[in-house]
């Protein structure tokens, strides 16, 4: 009898450990023989803690379970998959789950994250074996053909970046995973590290084979202690099994990797600040060029990719580039693990082919707001992303379509707000957050964000509103074009989108909003 309970931090945050303990105790008291397997999360967070029971028909779920529900679940016969008020039926038939295209997250929530046999039984390390037999150039060609673009937000073609590093001549090259997932509304990196860490290790190892690198680092933010623990444990297992170290899978290829922990600086998610931080310095942005692919970590050619980009590589090598490129629209190939967050009824991770509309994601999949009030705004792409009003919900989820509407998909986060939101406050927060996190290297970001928050304060205080709105817009132009990196450069997105789509929140009560 096998019962599956997540050990994902979000599940733990709502009591998964207590539920697991209560189930184990209840089973003992009743003399029932059962095995509890801790998994990652399926990503349906409104159902967490979600308890799954293995039945001949498949895994049947119950959620959200609290410790008080446990005796009742036993009484109802949940171990045979019988009905209970918390039944959600076969987990993989839940519409939220069934509608997804789980490629990158195929194993997340299914297996014990540290069970290497289970990982292999679900296709793990087939991709690396293929990369080793293809060789470097062919592996890069495969990644290029898949159309995969950087999932951190910039959307740069991964294969082209790899080709640059592959053809660079150097005595040392590095593979660097950016797991400094600081955007509010995103948790895909965390879920994958906690739920399927070997996928990341395999993806980074394939990258190492493809470009001829021997050392790798995963830079994880300190706010993710559980992910750090799981990742370190998985690396230890991979080393023992010859999947990291001097002879990868018995070949002559050498690669090893290490977790490094950030220290609470959002800007270190910017790749050049991340390089500085890993080198032991203040996380200040570097001017580009030179690009990190040529002059990266310790001045050596470095593949810096987002975690999700690396974690998608094993699928591409296992199933082939075409299998991945078959999904998607336009120049956005494959899938995106969209993260539905904030004030949303069905929040969680929804991996889907590009092309689905924002409205489908928020209203159909996400079920609208959690509060039951009308959805008023959705911030797409984290604190540097634009606020979309419902009249733009027809925007397809696609890098170019979002850019065409002055937005960005970023790392795939969507934060939903109901009609109680004050968009002037959110615009002010965007500036204040930028001021708080600015690395200080360039003036538009360091000073501009500070002045921006002050000017929005004046608008909120109804002081010379029109003049100050014009000033904020002007300041945003300066930040957009004058900043060194995306922190100062993209902070105008939430500010300008709030001003454009929600002007009524910036006008004194009763005053008509001037047309542009």
């Amino acid at each position: 009898m096998r019962v599956f309970i997540p050990c994902d931090a979000a599940a733990l945050a709502v009591g998964a450990d207590k539920v697991a303990l209560a189930i184990a105790k209840e089973a003992l008291a009743r003399g029932v023989d059962l095995k509890i397997i801790r998994t990652g999360s399926r990503g349906m967070f409104w159902l967490e803690p979600l308890v799954e029971v293995e039945t001949p028909e498949g895994r049947v779920g119950y959620g959200p379970v609290s410790i008080g529900d446990v005796p009742g679940l036993f009484d109802a016969g949940f171990l045979e998959g019988r009905t209970h008020k918390l039944s959600v039926g076969l987990v993989e038939k839940i519409p939220f789950f069934a509608r997804q295209n789980r490629l990158t997250f195929a194993r997340c929530g299914v297996i014990d994250p540290l069970d290497l046999d289970a990982f292999r039984a679900h296709g793990g390390y087939v991709g690396l074996a293929r990369a080793l037999s293809l060789g470097a150039a062919q592996t890069v060609a495969e990644v290029k053909a898949s159309g995969l673009r950087g999932r951190g937000g910039a959307g740069f073609p991964t294969g082209i970046k790899w080709e640059t590093v592959r053809t660079a001549a150097a005595d040392q090259k590095y593979i660097l995973c950016n797991a400094d997932e600081g955007d509010s509304g995103t948790f895909a990196d965390r879920m994958l590290m906690e739920g399927d860490p070997f996928t990341l290790i395999e993806g980074m190892t394939i990258a190492a084979v493809a470009v001829g690198a021997t050392r790798g680092y995963i830079y994880v933010r300190s706010e993710y202690p559980h992910a750090i623990r799981t990742m370190n444990a998985a690396i230890g297992i991979a080393r023992r099994e010859g999947l990291l170290g001097p002879s990868l899978m018995g070949s002559t290829q050498h690669f090893d990797l290490e977790v490094r922990v950030g220290a609470g600086a959002y800007v270190c998610g910017e790749e050049t600040a991340l390089l500085e931080s890993l080198e032991g310095k203040r996380g200040q942005v570097r001017a580009k060029p030179p690009i990190p692919a040529l002059v990266g970590l310790f001045g050596k050619p470095t593949v810096v990719n987002n975690l999700i980009s690396f974690a998608t590589i094993p699928f591409i090598l296992e199933k082939g580039a075409a299998a991945y490129a078959d999904y998607g629209m336009g120049r956005s190939r494959g899938t995106m693990p969209v993260q539905l967050a904030g004030n949303i009824k069905h929040g969680g991770l929804f991996e889907v082919a590009f092309g689905i509309t924002l409205g489908e994601l928020v209203n159909e999949i996400g079920g609208g707001s959690a509060s039951g009030r009308p959805v008023r705004a959705v911030q797409a792409g984290g604190p540097l992303g634009a606020y979309f009003p419902p009249h733009l919900f027809d925007t397809p989820y696609d890098y170019e379509a979002f850019a065409a509407r002055d937005g960005l998909i970023g790392h795939g986060g969507l934060v939903v707000f109901d009609d109680s939101v004050d968009m002037a406050k959110m615009a002010r927060f965007a500036m204040a957050f930028c001021a708080h996190e600015s690395c200080g290297k360039c003036t538009p970001c360091r000073i501009g964000s500070m002045r921006g928050a002050e000017v929005i304060d004046k608008i909120i205080a109804e002081s010379e509103v029109e003049k100050n709105i014009a000033l904020v817009k002007d300041l945003c132009e300066t930040m957009k074009f004058g900043s060194l990196c995306a922190l100062g450069g993209f902070t105008p997105y939430p500010v300008l989108s709030a001003l454009e789509h929600f002007p009524e929140d910036f006008a004194p009560a009763g005053m008509p909003v001037a047309a542009e």
């Binding site: 979000a10 559980h226 922990v261 600086a265 996380g283 986060g413 708080h436």
Partner: protein, 154 residues
């Protein structure tokens, strides 16, 4: 959690990490774990051992929000203030708690029991408002649940 300054221990922490590429952050994390904050003596020690100026080490310590210059309370409650938690009412709940405790962000109760800090995203954005209490995650913290959590830390 009592953290007593111990220069031998500090030397050991440096020795355990100085062979790494870019050992600075691992050393600082080790120090904060051992002593609860980054004592001034640590800055001098690291500078000497890594052949850096004290200004360079101080520059790193002061850049990162994680590194404390003085000890925190016995318990540390990190409340998320980022957008996803704001959308479900985190700011009002936090303001109520801070007012009741008589604290500002980053403040410690006079009895040294609890430090309340701001954090910008814990990756628990679909079950907010969220927090970390001594490193353990907590979600769906409405006003009552937050008060109960803060009371738990004794």
């Amino acid at each position: 959690m009592t953290h007593v300054w111990d220069s031998d221990k500090a030397e050991d922490i440096i020795a355990a990490h100085e062979g790494l590429e870019g050992p600075m952050l691992p050393i600082l994390h080790g120090m904060q774990e051992a002593f609860g904050y980054i004592p001034e003596a640590v800055v001098r020690l690291i500078a000497a051992r890594l052949n850096l100026s004290r200004a360079e080490v101080y520059g790193v310590v002061s850049f990162y929000h994680d590194f404390r210059r003085e000890p925190a309370g016995r318990h540390v409650l990190k409340l998320c203030r980022a957008e996803a938690c704001q959308s479900v009412g985190s700011e009002a709940n936090a303001a109520t708690l801070l007012r009741r405790l008589g604290l500002g962000w980053g403040g410690t109760t006079p009895d040294g029991r609890l430090t309340v800090e701001a954090v910008y995203c814990l990756g628990l954005c679909a079950c907010g408002p969220s927090a970390l209490l001594d490193g353990e995650p907590h979600g769906r913290l409405d006003a009552a649940a937050l008060e109960a959590l803060a009371a738990e830390a004794v």
